[in-house]
Symmetry: C2
Subunit: 292 residues, 2 copies
């Protein structure tokens, strides 16, 4: 799958070498620099449905600015919101409508910026000693201000496995309680300390559906900015169809035939279920599977 | 690659359903429970070279205990060290010698426990408000004790891409300044917010070696407990051989022929370089590549 999934493939050059160079970074923070306009964590769109950019003069005087990188020779920044506003979850129809209007490159730029400023807004203190932290390296680090601690903290990326399970040509899909009616999707879960991707896939499927899987293969990955996941899409095989559903995690899980998946992916009202939306890696996993 | 890499494939059942059940968890914390013996973050080995286990009576009375899971029907715990001791890096010959003595399952158990207790030791405070946090869900969460905050925090896993780059049958390998003399390995770097695995591979190779890559494929993954990485091993192709080395990251990087890689992997003193050690995912990437 060479075509990037939603939120991947940002055209901004992260210009990593500039982050650690305070003089160069300061020189870039002039009237030519661009500031991504955000409403809290949400994007601000122009009438044409593109991201709105302002100048650094639009930022609050004492706000934290993160250096997103260079685009067309211009330094791009985003402002950390002064207060962490409410939910960081994706369940916001207005946000989804705005994101649907963006072209793939802009969606990736927005998603990466959102994850980063959200992390700063929630990490103003040192987890090691409780003192205040300050932004460092253009926003790719925070450092504890307590001279006895000085711990460095880095933006978080949480790997999540999301996986198709196949048995005799059928696919296992499940319904989380928060899903809209009739939506089924691939089972998923966070990779835990001490696990490989393959370990995490096997554990999650056993926990949620009571199924032993084998032959786990990687299919595709996607950054998911709610708040900062790395979705790792996989495929696996099961030798048995019996399910033991963990009802604290899933309302339902069942096997679907190829014909059922095919019909669901057309968006037909007659389909056995509603497929995951196109921006989700699960959608691409189902499409990939149908193309096999 | 179905054989698990070092630190992967722990035989302990993580028994996720018990974590969120305080009564059941409390009932498991009796004289039958096993406590993994640790010296700070390092393993304590029996004369036979196996992990030493004690009972919960061996823990300090007020220490935090994390629930590792169930092994042979017994609940397994590890104690969070009272103080965070010095470096969390792997560069400790005594530690490597101890780990080399462990069988693969025990090494995975130790690695996962180390990452988890180390995270607790460095996260006693809330990054959102600076208040104290307390251990929750058997150690798979910490919760802020400030009633106005109550933020939940989860153990961290940092995805890292590590990648072979191939050009006309040769492989690009590099030397980090901290490597032992003559050691070369695959280039690597953390996945950042807003990146897919494929994005991160392409960016790292461009940053460190100035090379454009295409056709990134996943090969294998491995948890790496220094302190808590998920190593994601990949392969990619380059169309051009010209290198522009980032000398702040690498002392050197160059192309090696298949014959040079083959000889290095035998451990020969005549080899052009010293290959990465067997417990590293880079070793397995080279082995996988030679088998292609």
């Amino acid at each position: 799958m060479s075509r990037p999934l939603a939120f991947a493939g940002s055209p901004i050059d992260r210009a990593d070498h500039i982050r650690a160079d305070p003089d160069r970074l300061a020189a870039l923070m002039d009237w030519r620099a661009r500031l991504l306009k955000l409403d809290g964590l949400d994007p601000v769109l122009s009438p044409e449905g593109t991201l709105e950019w302002g100048t650094l003069a639009d930022a609050a005087p004492d706000s934290d600015l993160v250096f997103l990188g260079l685009a067309a020779g211009k330094a791009c920044f985003a402002e950390v919101p002064a207060r962490q506003g409410g939910s960081t979850g994706p369940a916001n129809p207005r946000l989804w409508a705005a994101m649907a209007a963006l072209d793939p490159g802009e969606l990736a730029t927005y998603g990466g910026a959102r994850s980063l400023v959200d992390w700063h807004a929630r990490h103003r203190f040192c987890a090691q000693c409780g003192s205040a932290t300050r932004l460092a390296k253009g926003g790719w680090q925070r450092t504890c201000t307590n001279d006895d601690c000085k711990a460095d903290h880095f933006p978080r990326v949480d790997p999540v496995t999301i996986m198709l399970v196949e048995h005799q040509g059928n696919l296992l899909l499940g319904r989380q309680p928060r899903f809209p009616p009739r939506r089924f999707s691939a089972l998923a879960g966070f990779v835990e300390p001490g696990e490989s991707i393959e370990d995490a896939v096997a554990r999650e499927i056993m926990e949620e559906a009571g199924v032993v899987v084998r032959d786990v293969t990687y299919v595709a990955s996607q950054p998911w900015p709610f708040p900062s996941s790395l979705m790792i899409g996989c495929h696996s095989h099961a030798d048995r169809a019996e399910l033991t559903i963990d009802t604290t995690e899933l309302d339902e899980a069942r096997w679907f035939t190829r014909a059922e998946v095919e019909l669901a992916m057309t968006g037909s009202e007659d389909a056995a279920f509603i497929a995951p939306p196109p921006h989700a890696v699960a959608h691409h996993l189902l499409k990939w599977w149908l193309e096999q």
